[in-house]
């Protein structure tokens, strides 16, 4: 898989590598880092914004963004938790991202949960409280309205996004290999 894929390089020192293998760009805006959990071997690229500060207003520790392993937040993408009025006050809800999730460049993600093996193409807008189940593809330039449910093994496209096709049965292996390969190819120059 991907025998001819080129190595993706970044300038040395522009990324911080953590003990668990996460690669986080120094130029990514990460607010409220204490409320963000990264699973390891995930990449957060230059210019992306993670809003861990948008937490539940009640007292106590709240995890805002959880991310699994082998994830990718593309350049210039914004990831923030969804929020709405509930019982007269505005509250944010946590955003959960599973393993093997690739979010392309320039996306805005306000989903409630993203399952494992999900690929979101570039320039997508994932609305508030969207639920993406395991193994799905959101093609580039898709806009998913608030509260959309994306079932497993489906391909979505368009504005507003619609289910257009289903994925082959081998997609789980394909996506996992792709995410691992991307992580291994992403290294300092």
């Amino acid at each position: 898989m991907g025998a001819f894929d080129p190595i993706i390089t970044y300038e040395k020192g522009t990324y911080i590598e953590t003990d668990t293998g996460n690669k986080v760009s120094r130029k990514a805006t990460i607010i409220g880092a204490t409320n963000i959990i990264l699973g390891g071997k995930s990449i957060i690229q230059t210019g992306s914004i993670l809003r861990g500060d948008l937490r539940r207003s009640t007292a106590g520790q709240h995890v805002v963004i959880t991310m699994g392993r082998y994830c990718l937040i593309g350049e210039g993408s914004i990831v923030r938790p969804p929020g709405k009025m509930y019982k007269g006050s505005f509250t944010f809800y946590p955003l959960r991202i599973s393993d093997f999730v690739h979010i392309g460049p320039n996306c805005i993600v306000e989903a409630a949960s993203i399952g494992s093996g999900v690929e979101i193409g570039k320039n997508c807008i994932i609305g508030k409280f969207v639920i993406i189940k395991d193994l799905a593809v959101i093609l580039p330039d898709t806009v998913l309205p608030e509260g959309t449910v994306v079932p497993s093994m489906s391909i979505w496209s368009g504005n507003p996004g619609k289910l257009i096709d289903t994925l082959p049965e081998t997609y789980q292996e394909t996506m996992e290999a792709k995410c691992k390969s991307y992580y291994q190819r992403f290294r300092a120059a």
Binding site: F4, P160, K162, T170
Partner: protein, 586 residues
């Protein structure tokens, strides 16, 4: 730029026809879309597998609909899932703006589209409860009541006719005149008999037998003998004329609106043809529809004597209970690293390309090896996407990845290399290394270990590979004594022997084969014919035969490719075809 694998459906695998042939019956798919039937030892694709529906679910609420309910629900979600009439995204339920006395937002509830902000207020739909919208809507729907009462009165009307005729059937004997004069007597008799036989109502028989009777009566000319029941004319309860539907004054307005498009005008055809047939044509007339259900599919081998399950999904999760996919059996083939041969050195070589004798091939191979070692500027890297130029020679790399836990032996050939068709004349494909091995698939750390003890043993594989490539001829170029002995062995013993895998290094180059873990890369030279015109697609087929070690459970009878070498029955061949699409000529 793609590689697709051939599926010959139920035909026995045969050399694929050139892409230009319209009679080329096999279809081509990407490897990840193909299935593999172990019983038939054949590739299967989505076009040929037998499909059964394993389960139904709603894509919005993800409810697993029992298959017994699907028909009654008309294949749509019977809970609260509706699609927006304008943008087709799923509607959400919103409570009214004015909070009720409890301070909580309460009824009436409306459906609202989060995408385009369409609201069900526009069509006057609102609900008392936020759940079971489809059921509430069904109750609200007054249209069905009108239809039902009309249907009931029509049924009453016709039932009087049936009961009248059945009451007279006591005269069952064919007392000729009466029975012929009133066909209904006969019909009802038939109906009665059928009812007795079937133990249920057979109302439809009346209409059917009457229809059957009619042509025969006219033919025989005994029309006057037959008569029809005195069936009173049915008067509809709701007359469309009374309703003024015949010539309504607002039709003029409708006609005017027909010219308008967009939100005020005629709805798009795509939005209308999925709806019920009597729906309005205007955008404003389109109502939200319940969301169609999706299915999970079970796939079976299409062979009539096989029918083995290839795919069996689990209704609860994304996992598959049975998953027989070709990616686990066939090597993955990728093409890349395009290089254009710079003309300076190859001018002498080009004219004699027509006859590619083994001698010529060997000479070229040696030259290529020298090229890699010595003069680096003979080839120029190019992007895979840029268009090809006619008359140029390109070299590509073909990467094959082994999915099996045993090393495999590959043989690349060009099918129909003798026949020349218009499409094949566009390019000439040279395979410098038609025979090579691919290492077994292993866990990642196993490769690392091999990597470390890599060293002076390199020539082992080099020597043996020479033996492979000159299959049949005597081993000519052995680098050392040890290499020579391996080279003289049959290739299968090298392939299968446990010791050989130890000798196969993590990365060694042997006669143009570049190996890394379970991937081998070989060169492929493509000469684009000078006759190729702009826009011509450069496509060619490759036959790939691989020899692998099979499990003992497989009986030799069901192998379609015979094991090479009589006594080594545990080795089997499998042949498949791929189509390489290199893009278009500039």
């Amino acid at each position: 730029m793609s590689i697709s694998y051939s599926c010959s459906h139920l035909d026995p695998p045969h050399a694929s026809l050139p892409p230009s042939y319209p009679s080329s019956s096999s279809s081509y798919h990407r490897l990840d879309r193909l299935y593999f039937c172990e019983e038939c030892d054949a590739v299967r694709c989505d076009q040929c597998v037998a499909i059964e529906i394993a389960s139904y679910f709603c894509p919005n609420c993800l409810f697993d609909v029992p298959s017994a309910n699907v028909r009654a629900d008309k294949n749509r979600c019977a809970r609260s899932c509706f699609s927006c009439p304008t943008c087709e995204s799923s509607l959400s339920i919103q409570a009214s703006d004015q909070p009720s006395e409890s301070g909580q937002p309460g009824p009436p509830y409306t459906l609202i589209c989060p995408g385009c902000k369409w609201s069900s207020k526009e069509v006057g739909w609102n609900y008392e409860k936020p759940t079971g919208i489809a059921l509430q809507l069904q109750k609200m729907n007054t249209q069905s009541e009108i239809v039902q009462s009309e249907f009931d009165s029509l049924k009453d009307h016709l039932e009087s006719y049936i009961s009248l005729s059945t009451s007279n059937t006591t005269t069952s004997a064919p007392s000729s005149v009466r029975s012929t004069r009133n066909p209904s007597r006969q019909i009802s008799h038939l109906t009665q008999m059928a009812q007795k036989a079937l133990h249920r109502d057979v109302g439809g028989m009346v209409a059917y037998s009457a229809r059957v009777k009619r042509p025969s009566t006219t033919k025989d000319g005994e029309k006057e003998k037959y008569g029809w029941d005195e069936l009173a004319v049915y008067e509809a309860k709701e007359n469309w004329r009374k309703d003024g539907m015949g010539s309504s004054p607002n039709q003029v307005d409708v006609m005017k609106e027909l010219g308008v498009s967009g939100a005020d005008g005629v709805a798009e055809l795509g939005k209308r043809w999925g709806k019920s047939w009597d729906a309005g044509k205007m955008t404003g007339d389109i109502l939200p529809q319940r969301i169609p259900l999706q299915t999970k599919l079970t796939k079976r081998c299409p062979h009539p004597n096989c029918r083995h399950l290839l795919i069996q999904p689990d209704t609860k999760s994304v996992r598959m209970k049975i998953k027989m996919v070709a990616a686990n059996y066939l090597p993955l083939i990728e093409i890349g690293r395009r290089r254009r041969r710079l003309p300076s050195n190859d001018i002498a070589e080009l004219p004699e390309l027509e006859e590619t004798t083994s001698e010529e091939l060997e000479r070229r191979r040696r030259e290529r090896r020298r090229t890699r070692a010595g003069i680096p500027n003979k080839e120029e890297d190019e992007s895979m996407e840029s268009p090809l130029k006619s008359g140029e020679t390109y070299s590509f790399q073909l990467a094959l990845t082994n999915p099996l836990y045993d090393p495999i032996q590959i043989r690349l050939t060009r099918p129909n290399s003798t026949s020349s068709t218009s499409s094949q004349e566009r390019c000439n494909v040279i395979i410098p290394t038609p025979h090579f091995t691919i290492n077994a698939l292993k866990d990642a750390w196993a490769y690392d270990e091999e990597y470390e003890d890599d060293g002076n043993n390199d020539f082992f594989m080099g020597g043996s590979e020479a033996g492979f490539s000159e299959e049949g001829t005597t081993t000519t170029t052995t680098t050392g004594g040890a290499g020579g002995t391996i080279g003289k062995k049959s290739r299968l013993s090298i392939l299968g022997g446990g010791s050989s895998t130890k000798k196969v290094r993590g990365r060694d180059r042997e006669n143009g084969v570049e190996k890394k873990s379970n991937t081998s890369k070989v060169n492929l030279d493509i000469e684009i014919s000078p006759n190729a015109r702009k826009g011509d697609a450069i496509k060619f087929d490759l036959e790939i035969r691989y020899t692998y070690r099979s499990d003992e459970t497989v009986t030799p009878t069901d192998t379609e490719g015979k094991a090479k070498g009589g006594k080594k029955e545990e080795y089997k061949d499998f042949t498949f075809w791929i189509r390489v699409d290199l893009g278009r000529v500039e």
